[in-house]
């Protein structure tokens, strides 16, 4: 199987960056990331998510304080929020419909791949206090913060891997082809 394909190469080379240099991320770069998110697949093309860009260091620092999942010093954050009004208009049952989470994931993955291609580092974050982030960003009630993408210029970080390193799983250990045989 050949992996000499540009998209596949970006997928393979992207890594989570948790630590960043002091170099700021430009608004143009951040807008490009949102453009990448906008091109992500969305269940039923309903597009019920909004993106809050946080690039003022003061606000980034405040969100860090209530986000244990942010270990480093990102220069900007993109908060993906569910727009409850849009969801209602589209008939989405937020308490039951798990496709909304998939849409957060596809948008995030597009942004992370685009960031990598632009020479930026990124890190997904779900470990944060929603109630505290809501207060810090003064979010209106109809926007529910779901996910934070950390962005910055990646800093070289020595990898600390112990003896039992979790390696990439061999394809044959995660793949089944076709119909499962009848069990005895």
């Amino acid at each position: 199987m050949s992996d000499q394909r540009p998209t596949f190469e970006i997928i393979q080379r992207r890594r989570v960056s948790r630590f960043f240099t002091d170099k700021p991320v430009t608004k143009d770069d951040l807008q490009h990331l949102i453009m990448a998110a906008r091109w992500a697949s969305s269940a039923g093309n309903r597009r019920i998510h909004k993106f809050v860009i946080v690039d003022q260091q003061k606000s980034v620092n405040l969100i860090r304080l209530v986000s244990p999942g942010i270990l480093g010093n990102p220069k900007a954050l993109i908060v993906i929020c569910t727009d409850k009004i849009k969801a209602a208009m589209e008939g989405v049952k937020l308490d039951m419909d798990t496709t909304t989470w998939i849409d957060v994931g596809t948008a995030s993955q597009n942004m992370m791949l685009a960031a990598h291609e632009m020479g930026l580092g990124s890190c997904p974050t779900t470990s944060f206090s929603k109630s505290a982030v809501r207060v810090i960003l003064n979010l209106p009630d109809y926007l529910e913060p779901e996910y934070i993408l950390q962005v910055g210029h990646p800093k070289e970080q020595p990898r600390s891997i112990g003896k039992g390193e979790v390696a990439k799983l061999p394809i044959e250990t995660i793949t089944y082809w076709g119909v499962f045989p009848e069990s005895d």
Partner: protein, 108 residues
């Protein structure tokens, strides 16, 4: 040991923000993330202490912070050794407590 040294109220508030957020997300995160959040809070505490010039204790705090920051991310790559690291950290802190007791006895 610098007994006069304390966190500022702002620093305490920042730690409080981190700890309360950790408590909230621990309701839904995997069990092993609880120890991770606590040990990460220890690193943040050490960072604050170092900012207040701990005098001849500096080396201890620097070593503790460096070790935590190096090994805490084993949670994501090596859970066996992460557990061992978590188990060993209190002993290291206890050694420092004992060292100070002995030192204080000598001074008295």
């Amino acid at each position: 040991m610098t007994e006069h040294m304390i966190l500022t109220e702002t620093e305490a508030l920042q730690l409080l923000a981190y700890l309360t957020a950790s408590a909230e997300i621990s309701l839904v995160e995997p069990d092993l993330y609880g120890p991770f959040r606590l040990i990460d809070a220890c690193s943040k505490l050490a960072e604050r202490v170092l900012q207040h010039d701990p005098g001849d204790s500096r080396e201890f705090w620097e070593e503790i912070k460096a070790e935590i920051d190096l090994k805490k991310i084993w949670l994501m790559s090596d859970r066996v050794n992460f557990r061992e690291f978590i188990k060993q950290m209190p002993a290291k802190v206890a050694q420092e407590l004992v060292r100070r007791e002995v030192k204080d006895e000598v001074v008295k």
